[in-house]
């Protein structure tokens, strides 16, 4: 879990509100909220309540959106031919650009 990000977002949303007032809105004790703000990992119930209060998808703290599609790439070379560094670099560029185009076309990229 990205506890740093969770703590940061709680503090930003709480702003000038006191811990007690924010905790009341969330539905947890002020001690519990304080612990999370101090980067202690909350239990599932508290985590759910905090995410609901923040209006955010829990998955962003669980690293789920950080998973990018990994391309599987196969490159076939002319038999008995050694690839030049210039070709390797150009192929690399082509593969990365093609991957980007596929992701954009299919809105896979977040």
């Amino acid at each position: 879990m990205n506890i740093e990000l969770l703590a940061e977002n709680i503090l930003r949303k709480r702003s000038i509100k006191g811990v007690r007032e924010a905790a009341k809105e969330i539905g947890v004790s002020s001690a519990t909220l304080s612990r999370v703000e101090n980067k202690k990992v909350p239990d599932l119930d508290t985590f759910s309540k905090i995410c609901a209060w923040l209006g955010e998808d829990p998955s962003i703290y669980l690293g789920l959106t950080e998973i990018k599609p990994t391309p599987r790439v196969r490159v076939h070379f002319k038999k008995e031919s050694a690839i030049t560094p210039a070709s390797a670099k150009a192929l690399s560029e082509m593969i990365l650009l093609a991957q980007k185009a596929i992701l954009t076309d299919n809105n896979i990229e977040g």
Partner: protein
């Protein structure tokens, strides 16, 4: 050495695909038509958005003596499959290369992961030889199924014209004739 039944499966697959595409079992099969049927995109470097002219020149450098050193790139991103062909090669060569790449995808061979660095693509160890052999065999069947070879021999077609019709090289045609035993069964 192939798994038992692999060669028969390839012949059946080649026949079934032709039927599905409205072709007879001895008709030439366009690799691009098969790619479309399989939902696989086919590009050349010219189709890659943002590729610089400098890189295009390197990738497609072919002076007729030292053809550029890559044949095809297959990219699999999520469920999207894309084959980029080296368009500096002859149409026959491209057709053969595309069929080879499609065969790897049909056989669900695991491809290498790419490691990109600022120095270029770091290629991992060579593709499994067994898988290369399987893809070679399946692509040969797809391009020239046994029934097509028999038909060529029965009609006493000129082999150069037959190779051109099926978009294969003469050496591929002769190889398939030999490996399937058709050359021994039918003599001009």
């Amino acid at each position: 050495m192939f798994k038992r039944g692999f060669k028969s499966w390839c012949e059946r697959f080649a026949t079934d695909k032709r039927q599905e595409l409205g072709l007879s079992s001895s008709d030439p099969l366009d690799a691009r038509l098969l790619a479309e049927n399989l939902g696989i995109k086919v590009w050349t470097p010219h189709d890659v958005p943002g590729l610089t002219q400098e890189h295009l020149n390197i990738l497609l450098h072919n002076d007729g003596k030292t053809a550029s050193d890559w044949s095809a790139v297959t990219l699999i991103v999520e469920d999207i499959k894309l084959v980029i062909l080296n368009s500096s090669h002859s149409l026959g060569r491209q057709s053969s290369d595309l069929m080879h790449e499609l065969s790897h995808l049909i056989l669900d061979h695991q491809s290498q992961e790419m490691n990109a660095s600022s120095e270029g693509v770091l290629m991992l160890s060579a593709y499994e030889k067994d898988q290369e052999d399987e893809a070679d065999w399946l692509s040969g069947c797809l391009l020239l199924p046994r029934e097509a070879l028999v038909s060529i021999m029965k009609q006493r077609l000129d082999l150069t014209i037959a190779a051109s019709d099926f978009r294969v090289s003469m050496s591929m045609l002769k190889y398939r004739m030999s490996m399937t035993g058709v050359a021994r069964q039918y003599t001009y």
